[in-house]
Amino acid sequence: MRDELQKRVVKGPDGVEFEVEPLKDYYCEAPPAEHPPAYLKIVEDLFNWARSQSLWILGFGTGCGAIEMRPLMTPRFDAYRYGVQWRPTPRQSNLFIISGYLSVKTLKRVIRSYEQMQNPKYVVGLGSCTINGGMYWDSYNTIKRLDDYLPVDLYIAGCMPRPEALLAGFETLKHIIREGKAEGANLYARNFDWYKANQKKVIHDWDMPDYNW
């Protein structure tokens, strides 16, 4: 564990000493909870319709596929007209696009980013690598099945998928959301222990709280 994460005594600029324990002080460790649907189906449908109309992508280019995000978000493909835009922080995003392979090192950051996103949230896997390891199937440093570590709502085939394929994916995702079937976040909460066990199996230096949001 890195030094700055250790429990220690710190002396402030005013000369006062105090104890810090970053992993406890900075994060809430409460486990994730399932998000129940609205009491009335018609209300839930309305919510889902609204959710489907604003897919806000977290601006985290985890791999190759991120390069097609720029054409998508610029005038030629103009994803904004479909209610899709990208946001710089997890707090503002509800869609995580895993743009291809994930190294174990990135997986760790991805998990943290994902957990910081607000419910309901969705994960889309881009390309072969998220499905079965892709061309890095024999690499020592990339995960092979994204769904072992995060709940994936949708996959888009390709290496890498083109902007058009992404747009097709967004349309499908909207459809899934409107049907109330984009239950990834709830799945994550429900099977939290299983996901954590998988994550910890490959992330050997686990130096963060199990859940932080």
Binding site: E4, R8, V9, V10, K11, G12, P13, L58, G59, F60, G61, T62, G63, C64, A66, I67, E68, R70, P71, T74, P75, R76, P88, P90, Y101, S103, K105, T106, R109, S113, M135, Y136, D138, S139, Y140, N141, T142, C159, M160, R162
Partner: protein, 392 residues
């Protein structure tokens, strides 16, 4: 022009070796992580900044978020099987991987790509260079808050991707230059459509010049910023536009000409001030050089002739023991492949030398000290680095 003068009263003391002494527990310094999930970072990497007030007093680059172990994977792939994977090492300008790898294999196997294939390779590399620069220009402007440039250049780049698609059959990873030659010739009417694309890009570049380069804000934030000192050029192995902007007029295309560059007419672009603005300007002018080169190539390349050298059955292709280094001038500097063979059907060792390796690591860490936090992104982008080629 320095508008900002930091308060250095809290600044850490210098140790004999030149590094700074700072005590995080003192509360005077703050660790600030820029990346990997951060809008102000190029690609997937991160900067561990130690700041004092608004100023960076120490920085470390952290890479490895995109490490897939290409050099290891290639050791268990046959020579032809390596061909599709190498382009993944650098996403925005993948073709240099294909070229350098193919050239290295051809050299050690003792074969030579046919004339027409070499023209097409050159064409592809120059198309890729334009794309890479277009992407950079959008990023450079964007890092300083000017989002509109990226809207234009990304469009221009996309038009070029259409040309790539019709020529190579793919948008991003072209997998077109393979050991022995190239896959196919130019499609019918390619020249005409390429000319249209080039005109559109020239139009965009004119707007970029007006709006980005003749821009008081941009100048204020870039002129005199992020200077690469002359002695750093050798200390940190600086190459390409970064070096040329510092007056080191070295361009592999001229100095150790490869492919058909000896037959093409061009002059390397250079600058003298070595700051963020000059580097941006060198790249802007280089786009025009590349546009011109694409025109020259299309006008002069042979229309007929073989596209592949005679290669043995690729399934059993063994290459005699040997080693070589093949370099090319990519948009970011010297791109090179060090290939070692041992007589088997697999490379013994491949080492990919991407320019970002030094630019984004040692050089960036050195340059970033003393910079205002707000300028970090702009400075970093100005080195034009792509993380995947650092860690491979």
């Amino acid at each position: 022009m320095a508008l900002y003068t930091p308060d250095r009263s809290q600044y850490p003391a210098a140790l004999p070796d030149g590094s700074l002494e700072f005590d995080l527990a003192s509360g005077k310094y703050l660790k600030l992580w820029q990346g990997p999930q951060h809008p102000g970072i190029t690609g997937n990497m991160s900067l561990e900044l130690t700041v004092c007030g608004d100023e960076i007093v120490h920085a470390r680059t952290h890479v490895g978020y995109l490490h897939r172990g290409f050099e290891k994977l290639m050791e268990r792939r046959t020579f032809i099987q390596c061909f599709p994977i190498v382009c993944r090492i650098c996403v925005p300008e993948p073709d240099f991987n294909e070229y350098c790898y193919a050239q290295a294999v051809e050299e050690l196997a003792g074969i030579e790509a046919p004339e027409r294939a070499r023209w097409i390779r050159t064409l592809i590399l120059e198309m890729g260079r334009i794309n890479s620069y277009m992407m950079y220009l959008g990023g450079q402007a964007g890092s300083l808050g000017q989002a509109v440039i990226g809207q234009w250049t990304t469009y221009g780049r996309d038009l070029m991707l259409d040309r790539f698609e019709e020529l190579t059959g793919a948008r991003i990873y072209h997998m077109f230059i393979l050991p022995g030659g190239v896959r196919d010739g130019l499609p019918d009417g390619f020249e005409t459509r390429m000319e249209e694309t080039l005109r559109e890009i020239e139009r965009i570049m004119a707007d970029v010049e007006d709006v980005m380069f003749h821009n008081a804000v941009f100048k204020t934030r870039t002129v005199g910023q992020g200077i690469i000192r002359p002695e750093w050029i050798e200390d940190y192995g600086v190459t390409g536009p970064n070096a040329r902007a510092a007056g080191v007029v070295k361009d592999v295309r001229k100095d150790q000409p490869y492919l058909v560059y000896p037959e093409l007419d061009f002059e390397p672009v250079s600058g003298t001030d070595s700051d963020v603005f000059t580097r941006a300007d060198v790249r802007r002018r280089d786009v025009h050089v590349s546009i011109d080169l694409v025109r020259q190539i299309l006008a002069r390349m042979p229309k007929d002739g073989p596209l592949m050298a005679k290669v043995p059955n690729v399934l059993h292709w063994k290459i005699p023991k040997g080693e070589t280094y093949v370099r090319g001038e990519c948009s970011r500097g010297e791109y090179g492949y060090y290939l070692v063979t041992d007589g088997s059907g697999y490379p013994r060792r491949v080492n990919v030398r991407g320019p970002s390796y030094t630019h984004a690591m040692a050089l960036l860490e050195k340059m970033i000290v003393g910079v205002n936090i707000a300028d970090v992104a702009g400075l970093m982008v100005s080195l034009h680095t792509y993380p995947p080629e650092i860690e491979r």
